[in-house]
């Protein structure tokens, strides 16, 4: 059998011994994607150059940008976008979807328990000390049910695909996961660049996300036509584009802290027609900044007495307060136990074995293997404050060792897990680059997984870092409808 791909993908070869999502090691397409890859293959490398310009212009003109905090004032950058999609077949997706729903369900129950009876601690499944020492744990939220009844309205679970082709959870994002606007914009761009391919295939739509999300939030309110607002830290926040984008697509007011005020434990927004009652706040401001009178700081991003209104049950905050305890990277290692404990099910998704600085035994293993491990702060994000052992200098490792010794609870370590690769544009040709994946799960009266998600790609050779702030890019993610699969109709 000859390789059917003679155009764009002619010379593409995966890295030896690494799992590539689209291609077998010999350069043949994975069976399930053969049809779609053949369509993409019809383009030449020159076509591709042209498409790239087209896509860049679409992004820049749309203002689909994020701020990088490199300089004092921040620079506006477009999130590098790669035109080769990552494709997920229906079978894989169904499995993944179930696993995600299970995981988020267990995490939700965990939060209710931790801020309620704390059965899981009393039954010694998770050490109490680990919870109480978590920066994300807020003891003042004990015995307070979030208005609306949900802690995790929106979550983004970061995954990788192992060498065996299995999805594996890397970390949970249960506070203010970002990136969904890129998912939606990437798709729009792809449709403009490759209309013919979309016509010929059954790629599941993601367009409904903003409406689904708004409905999910509104469904939790007891008010008939609740006013939903999005609270942004402001135009200088790196994700401001997303806040504004979602406000437009969801049809919500986009507000800053100074636009809101609390009167008699109720929240109001200042409008040109006078003050209006606010029922639901999708807040993109962190717990510690959301209410200066609660956190006892001078935050101007927040709204004084907002927490009082929340505690009184008069306003729904999405996500709830205190979620940080559930996406603490040390507590992550207990999620499989949570699933067994709360749901009496076996976890459907694998996760990366994790060493906790908190455990004396683990700490020593971490310190002895700094050249092999990835070390992360338990509440870090965006690729900041981590050590990638194998590529770090001796000096960096020594510095990190000191930090770990000074505050072991604050660090965890994991062995380096190979990320799967996807064909990605690299200067003049396609090359295999490492990718991860962040699907989004919306919870209202019911739970829903967006059929797609953010595929982030490490654009630099040999890099494992996919964060937008650290030189990563993104790809559109195509989840296929069942009937579209070559595997099913072909054999």
């Amino acid at each position: 059998m000859n390789n059917p791909l003679t155009g764009l993908f002619k010379d593409y070869r995966p890295l030896p011994g690494r799992y590539d999502e689209m291609f077998l090691e010999n350069g043949y397409p994975q069976l399930a994607f053969r049809q779609l890859l053949e369509l993409l293959d019809k383009n030449t490398l020159e076509d591709f150059q042209h498409y790239r310009h087209l896509a860049d212009n679409i992004f820049r003109n749309n203002g689909t940008t994020f701020l990088v905090y490199k300089h004092e004032k921040g620079t506006e950058e477009i999130f590098p976008f790669d035109l080769i999609p990552r494709i997920i077949c229906a079978q894989d997706w169904q499995k993944l979807e179930k696993g995600l729903l299970q995981r988020v369900h267990a995490l939700e129950l965990f939060l209710h328990d931790i801020y309620g009876e704390q059965r899981i601690l009393k039954d010694n499944i998770i050490p109490r000390e680990l919870i109480e020492s978590s920066a994300g744990y807020n003891p003042r939220m004990r015995h307070i049910t979030p208005p609306g009844g949900i802690y995790i309205n929106i979550s983004g679970i970061d995954l990788l695909k192992t060498n065996e082709g299995e999805y594996c959870v890397l970390e949970d994002n249960l506070r203010t996961p970002s990136g969904v606007s890129y998912v939606l914009e990437n798709r729009l761009t792809m449709k403009r660049v490759f209309p013919a391919i979309f016509k010929k295939s059954h790629i599941r739509t993601i367009k409904e996300y903003p409406l689904r999300f708004k409905d999910a939030l509104a469904s939790l309110s007891t008010v008939d036509n609740p006013i939903v607002v999005i609270l942004t830290p402001g135009v200088n926040n790196s994700a401001f584009f997303e806040h504004s984008y979602l406000a437009r697509k969801m049809g919500c007011y986009l507000v800053q802290g100074s636009d809101l005020f609390v009167h008699q434990e109720k929240v109001y927004v200042k409008t040109t027609e006078g003050a209006k009652r606010v029922d639901v706040i999708y807040r993109r401001v962190d717990d510690e900044y959301i209410d200066p009178s609660f956190s006892n700081n001078n935050s101007v991003l927040g709204v004084p007495d907002l927490v009082k209104a929340y505690v009184a049950g008069n306003v729904i905050l999405a996500n709830g307060l205190g979620n940080g305890v559930a996406d603490d990277k040390a507590i992550y290692s207990f999620v499989p136990e949570m699933i067994r404990y709360y749901l009496t099910e076996e976890p459907l998704l694998a996760q990366v074995p994790t060493y906790l600085g908190y455990r004396e035994k683990d700490k020593n293993i971490i310190l002895q293997n700094l050249d092999k491990f990835v070390v992360k702060m338990v509440d870090g994000s965006g690729g900041y404050g981590m050590l990638f052992g194998p590529q770090a200098t001796q000096k960096e490792r020594t510095e990190f060792a000191e930090k770990i010794k000074a505050n072991p609870r604050h660090y965890i370590a994991q062995e380096v897990v190979e990320l799967s690769t996807c064909p990605t544009w690299d200067l003049q040709k396609l090359a295999p680059k490492r990718v991860d994946f962040r699907p989004y799960i919306v919870s209202g009266q019911y739970r829903w997984v967006l059929p797609g998600g953010l595929t982030r790609v490490a654009l630099e050779e040999n890099s494992y870092i996919v964060n937008s702030s650290q030189g990563g890019g993104s790809k559109d993610t195509w989840v296929l409808n069942e009937e579209d699969e070559y595997a099913k109709e072909g054999i």
Partner: protein
């Protein structure tokens, strides 16, 4: 709508109007200066005065620089130290547009963003050095495409009305300034001046700066006399850049805002506007003396500023008292 956002709509629109006005004045002056006739003294300096940035200029440059055509043009177009340079105004307008993208539509954002991206492109820089006239025309066209999108695609709800208020009040004060400063340049004692070639060129330049040259010539009482021009630019009720036209339309916008909100908020601004319009209509502009015209125009400027301040107090930075909440919660539920 959100009070803060209303303010941003207003200011974004004001800044874009300022850009268009600056461009008009620059283009007119540029063409005017190409004539072989001896021109009015300080013709370029007067443009700095129209923009109200004399102090900023003086802080940077010397007395002799006030005759430096190139320098003044650069100062008005590119200078970061000039708070109302085209660059600064466009940048603020574009940043404001970014903040309120949820209140305007994509097309409007797109025209503003493209204008800004073009302005900072090397293409614009090259065009400025090669052909200033074409440079100005390009910006003016882009400003007009913004106005076109604004009027043809934005629904007539509060954001639109606040944007309309922004450009109307800005336009009223720009016309006032252009008239005031140009009137100043003509050395006469009475309202009527002699029609020397030099003066005709000057008056035509003034009209051109307001985009009113041909429109004025079609006007019933058109005579290239200072007092007639002054009356036209002040009181004409059909010309979209006359002071009265702008203020009356601003009043209309305010009524729309109040009607759609069923609210008394904005009454202070409305009363002030009504007062100013009524007073203006009574002024015998064609009969008053030059120095009287100056003080009248000054008064208009002060009044326009005051209207803007009242508008901000009414809508953009409201002092929410408990009374106000109860008023909106309890009242108006008939």
């Amino acid at each position: 709508m959100i009070s803060r956002v209303a303010g941003i709509c207003f200011w974004m629109s004001r800044y874009l109007e300022r850009v268009e006005n600056t461009i008009r004045v620059l283009t007119a002056n540029y063409t005017y200066m190409l004539d072989g006739e001896p021109v009015m003294k300080d013709a370029w300096w007067s443009v700095v005065c129209v923009m109200g940035v004399e102090k900023e200029f003086e802080a940077l440059y010397s007395q002799q620089d006030k005759n430096q055509e190139e320098l003044i043009q650069k100062f008005l177009v590119w200078d970061d130290n000039n708070p109302v340079s085209i660059k600064n105004s466009l940048h603020i307008a574009r940043e404001n547009a970014k903040i309120i993208r949820d209140s305007i539509n994509n097309e409007l954002w797109d025209t503003i963003n493209r204008l800004w991206l073009w302005f900072i492109s090397s293409e614009a820089e090259v065009l400025y050095s090669r052909n200033k006239y074409l440079f100005c025309v390009t910006i003016q066209e882009k400003c007009q495409s913004y106005q076109g999108v604004l009027h043809n695609s934005i629904p007539r709800t509060s954001p639109y009305e606040f944007m309309r208020l922004g450009f109307l009040l800005e336009r009223a004060s720009q016309t006032t300034r252009i008239l005031d400063i140009n009137y100043h340049c003509v050395s006469d004692k009475s309202a009527v001046v002699d029609e020397t070639a030099q003066e005709i060129a000057h008056w035509l330049n003034l009209l051109e700066s307001c985009g009113a040259h041909e429109i004025f010539m079609m006007y019933d009482h058109a005579e290239l006399i200072g007092s007639v021009i002054a009356k036209f630019l002040t009181l004409n009720q059909t010309f979209p850049r006359s002071i009265l036209f702008c203020l009356e339309r601003a009043h209309e916008s305010l009524l729309h805002i109040q009607a759609s909100a069923h609210s008394q908020i904005g009454n202070n601004t409305r009363y002030k506007l009504e007062e100013v319009i009524a007073a203006l209509k009574l002024k015998p502009i064609d009969k008053i003396l030059k120095n009287e015209l100056h003080s009248l125009l000054n008064e208009i400027l002060e009044n326009t500023d005051e209207i803007c301040e009242t508008l901000a107090a009414d809508f953009f930075e409201p002092q929410r008292t408990i009374d106000a909440i109860e008023e909106t919660m309890g009242g108006g539920q008939q």
